[in-house]
């Protein structure tokens, strides 16, 4: 002990404080606290997991979706790769190699039926692409049919599954495929040695075909005639390659086909023309530009869309004035949320003030009235406003009956901003009253009394002494109401008409109708960012510790 005392006494050599058993004090303290922390963690674990799964994860997913764009490069791997080298600034169409790559990609996608999804995706960026892809999926089959028929006429075996397997597959695979019986797992295709060099394009196409049969269709290759794509590739290979050295299975059949191709009687392969025949739009440089622009795995396109901009080859640019909607919607959402918040403050303050100054029993009774709306469904309440506010509705009827309003000029109070503001103010009012009430009921009466005893009139006592102390309640209520209303959806949908809808209605539209989830996610992300920025600004201006939800 004296040693420790001596060491701590010298300032140059201050060793760590030791606990009674000699371990450093910090460590034994940490150990003691760890058990406590673990227990605390165990208590919040269920909620934490729940929140992570149901709240954090979807938000992260949303953030991810707003930039994610792998569908293009996943569906058109060869095309996107080839387009990298295409210089779009010249205004020339891509070369034949790119058309050829697109033929392969779209053919495969059409077999897997993913081309329509890609079409839908690209249609968000360039209207018309959707139908282009749908048509092409069907039309591209025709290219290979010429060759398929020619080979078939030469030898029927070119149109059967088994001969192809014998030609393309390794001996092991052929044996496995022949031994396969229904119910067993399908054997994995294996290319014959040397085939990748002999018929490179055919090998790739056939491998794709084999994988597709095994995974998607679950059928034996022996029974399935290959896609026309494979025949096209065979034609290309035979044009370019010399197969005379081949002596494996089906060498005769292959050599005969080679002779046919070399004979020059078959029509040459012209993918570009076929594309043009399918749809003239393929000759539009903009289509290819769009595909090239959206080739990367991640894109800012959704965000640009969400702020009324678009990607162009020269970088982001504003949309035309008549195509801009989101900026307007964001502004309107902010503005109307502010109006709703202020009308809630104006209506809730006197109520909360009254409640907090009444004896507890009466206050509780009135509180039930405040909470009453919570007992009815939101839909019912909103629909009730429809009944109240419409032109043949209760309020107009009364006004006309009193004579304030002419029967011919009934007020339009629904399906516009006014309707949304009225209905939402009513619906969100309790969220303003409750925090205000809980703050106000903690303000002792003695403050106002003290102010009056010091000579303040009722108004001065209220304004200088009571009101400043109730500000935290206003703050809490305002944040609550503003954030709730910024993301509100049902009420504006029902009573908002076209001029009273919010950004969230647009998000809902993209999620459930246009299925443009990426754009919905981008809009949602912007909304989240706006709320966080406002929250931050509020903290800077008012101070978040000035917000109280109660005592």
């Amino acid at each position: 002990m004296t040693d420790t005392a001596a060491t701590t006494a010298t300032p140059e050599d201050t060793g760590p404080m030791l606990a009674a058993d000699g371990t450093p004090l910090k460590r034994s303290l940490a150990r003691a606290l760890r058990a406590q922390k673990m227990r605390a963690l165990a208590l919040i674990a269920p909620l934490l997991i729940f929140v992570l799964l149901t709240f954090i994860a979807p938000i992260v997913d949303m953030l991810f979706r707003s930039v994610e764009n792998q569908i293009v490069s996943d569906t058109l791997p060869r095309t996107t790769l080839a387009l990298k080298d295409w210089d779009d600034s010249t205004g020339d169409l891509p070369g034949d190699d790119i058309f050829f790559a697109a033929y392969q990609d779209i053919f495969l996608a059409a077999e897997a039926k993913t081309h329509t999804r890609l079409g839908t995706r690209l249609n968000y960026e360039f209207t018309g692409v959707s139908s282009l892809f749908r048509k092409s999926g069907r039309g591209l089959d025709d290219i290979g049919e010429v060759y398929q028929d020619a080979f078939k006429d030469l030898d029927k075996d070119w149109d059967k599954g088994a001969p192809w397997v014998e030609l393309m597959g390794s001996d092991d695979f052929v044996a496995e495929a022949q031994a396969w019986e229904k119910g067993d797992a399908l054997p994995e295709f294996e290319l014959r040695d040397g085939m990748a060099d002999l018929l490179p394009l055919t090998a790739v196409a056939y491998e794709d075909f084999a994988r597709f049969q095994r995974v998607e269709e679950e059928k034996s290759l022996l029974k399935e005639e290959p896609w026309t794509l494979v025949h096209t590739m065979l034609f290309r290979d035979l044009q370019a390659q010399d197969v005379s050295g081949y002596s494996g299975p089906r060498a005769e059949m292959l050599k005969a086909a080679d002779a046919l191709v070399d004979g020059g009687e078959l029509p040459p392969l012209d993918v570009r023309t076929t594309f043009e025949k399918i749809d003239k739009d393929w000759m539009d440089v903009d289509v290819w530009e769009t595909i090239k622009m959206y080739s990367p795995n991640y894109t800012n396109g959704y965000f640009l869309n969400a702020v009324d901009m678009q990607k162009t080859p020269d970088g982001p640019a504003w949309r035309d004035d008549d195509e801009r909607i989101y900026g307007l919607l964001f502004k309107r959402t902010m503005f109307m949320s502010l109006v709703i918040t202020f009308s809630c403050i104006a209506l809730a303050y006197p109520v909360a003030f009254l409640l907090s100054n009444l004896p507890a029993r009466t206050a509780n009774l009135l509180m039930i009235l405040v909470l009453l709306p919570f007992w009815t469904s939101l839909l019912v309440r909103t629909s009730a406003w429809k009944v109240m506010l419409q032109q043949q509705g209760v309020i107009n009827d009364v006004l006309v009956w009193i004579g304030l309003v002419d029967d011919a000029n009934r007020l339009v109070m629904i399906n516009n901003q006014l309707g949304t503001i009225i209905a939402m103010t009513h619906i969100l009012l309790p969220f303003m009253i409750l925090p205000m009430y809980s703050v106000m009921s903690t303000i002792p009466q003695t403050y106002v009394r003290a102010a009056k005893s010091l000579g303040a009139t009722n108004w001065t006592a209220f304004w200088r002494v009571y009101f400043p102390q109730s500000v935290p309640g206003i703050g809490a209520g305002s944040i609550l109401v503003f954030i709730l209303s910024i993301g509100y959806y049902i009420t504006p949908e029902i009573v908002g008409g076209t001029t009273g809808t919010f950004i969230s209605n647009r998000i809902a539209y993209h999620i459930s109708s246009s299925l443009n989830w990426g754009l919905a996610a981008a809009l949602g992300t912007i909304l989240l960012a706006v709320v966080l920025i406002l929250y931050w600004a509020y903290d800077k201006i008012v101070g978040i510790d000035n917000v109280k939800l109660g005592g």
């Binding site: 002792p444 003695t446 403050y447 009394r449 003290a450 102010a451 009056k452 005893s453 010091l454 000579g455 303040a456 009139t457 009722n458 001065t460 006592a461 200088r464 002494v465 400043p468 102390q469």
Partner: protein, 367 residues
């Protein structure tokens, strides 16, 4: 300084009654008048109506019946902010969102004083309570005693002629409380302010006040200077409420001018001063202060009655000895003796004789 209406009274309650619920009277027929400059304390058990009286005076409660006058003018219909009465609340009620200086400037601002005048007065008031350096702080950054001073300064800064204080020292510890008691009385007297002070604490009441009004059950039981209150309680409630007190019950046997003889319930006979007993045969409670009981026979009047007592407990308290006795069937009879060099220490079990001067033994009502 008599009760009831008085021509030159500064504050006067005249036949004031108050009921909150229309069923029970919280204040019953209150009559009180205070001259200018007096320091008057309202003392009484919880719920006896002290705060209610104060609130009626300040204007936060209205009297159900009767009249309250300030400087000869009825103020029943004057709103609180026009009464010009300074007030110190139990929890100080310093405005938490204003600094100390702003708190003090508030009553001056609402009186539309100019800025420089305001600042001068605030500074003077802060200096008065020795808090000159704290003007920029928030109330929450002050200790209880400091808050108390600020509350006092705020109540005085606009120079009211009447200041009301409702248990202003209740939240302070004993030492600070004693210190503040001294400061408050000093200030009140040096500024010549009339003060109504409410407290639970009888020591506080006795040490600070010019007069003390003892409240019970909505009535003033006695209104007198502290020494009179302590030595000449007018009824058994006041006798028991103020200071320590021994009570013996019995029947009046004989009244002779300013002394009487009381026969206690166990048959013994003692001398007493009749206070509010009038007839022979009436039941009475006699009260004797512990420090007025004599155990030294030689100091009693010749022929005085004495009682036998058995020592039950002896407690050494430093400056005094406190001895508990069994007297006439009462096991809680306490005497206090000064710790003097010749003082005997009584050991439990000893039998002694006790007596007192008749004027120290007061025969009061039996309730």
């Amino acid at each position: 300084m008599a009760d009831g209406s008085n021509g030159d009274a500064f504050v006067a309650f005249e036949r004031v009654q108050k009921s909150y619920d229309g069923e029970t009277l919280v204040v019953k027929d209150l009559n009180l008048s205070m001259p200018k400059g007096e320091f008057l304390t309202m003392l009484g058990p919880s719920g006896s109506g002290k705060t209610t009286c104060l609130m009626m005076l300040a204007g936060f409660e209205t009297a159900t019946h009767g009249e309250i006058k300030l400087d000869g003018v009825s103020i029943n219909n004057i709103p609180p902010h026009k009464r010009g009465i300074g007030m110190v609340f139990q929890n100080y009620a310093l405005f938490p969102h204003m600094t100390v200086a702003e708190n003090l400037a508030f009553p001056l601002e609402v009186r539309k004083l100019g800025k420089s005048e305001r600042e001068a007065k605030v500074k003077r008031a802060l200096d008065m309570v020795q808090m000159g350096a704290f003007g920029g702080r928030r109330p929450a950054q002050l200790s209880g005693g400091q808050q108390q001073r600020i509350a006092l300064a705020r109540a005085l800064v606009f120079e009211p002629e009447l200041v009301l204080m409702d248990e202003p020292l209740g939240a302070l510890d004993k030492q600070l409380r004693e210190h503040m008691q001294f400061e408050i009385t000093n200030l009140a007297h040096s500024l010549g302010i009339t003060t109504v002070y409410v407290t639970h604490d009888q020591t506080e009441a006795l040490t600070m006040s010019d007069r003390v009004a003892v409240f019970n059950d909505g009535r003033i039981q006695q209104l007198d200077p502290p020494d009179v209150l302590y030595e000449e309680p007018k009824n058994s409630f006041v006798a028991q409420f103020i200071g320590e007190n021994n009570t013996l019950e019995g029947v009046v046997q004989e009244i002779r001018g300013d002394t009487c003889v009381v026969k206690l319930d166990d048959g013994e006979v003692i001398d007493a001063t009749p206070v509010n007993v009038t007839q022979v045969g009436e039941r009475t409670k006699v009260s004797i202060r512990p420090e007025r009981v004599e155990i030294d026979r030689s100091r009693l009047q010749p022929g005085a009655h004495t009682l036998k007592a058995e020592v039950l407990e002896f407690i050494y308290m430093g400056d005094i000895f406190r001895t508990r006795l069994r007297v006439a069937g009462n096991n809680d009879f306490v005497i206090k003796t000064r710790n003097a060099p010749d003082q005997v220490k009584l050991s439990p079990g000893t039998m002694i004789d006790i007596g007192w001067l008749p004027r120290d033994c007061r025969a009061l009502d039996a309730t």
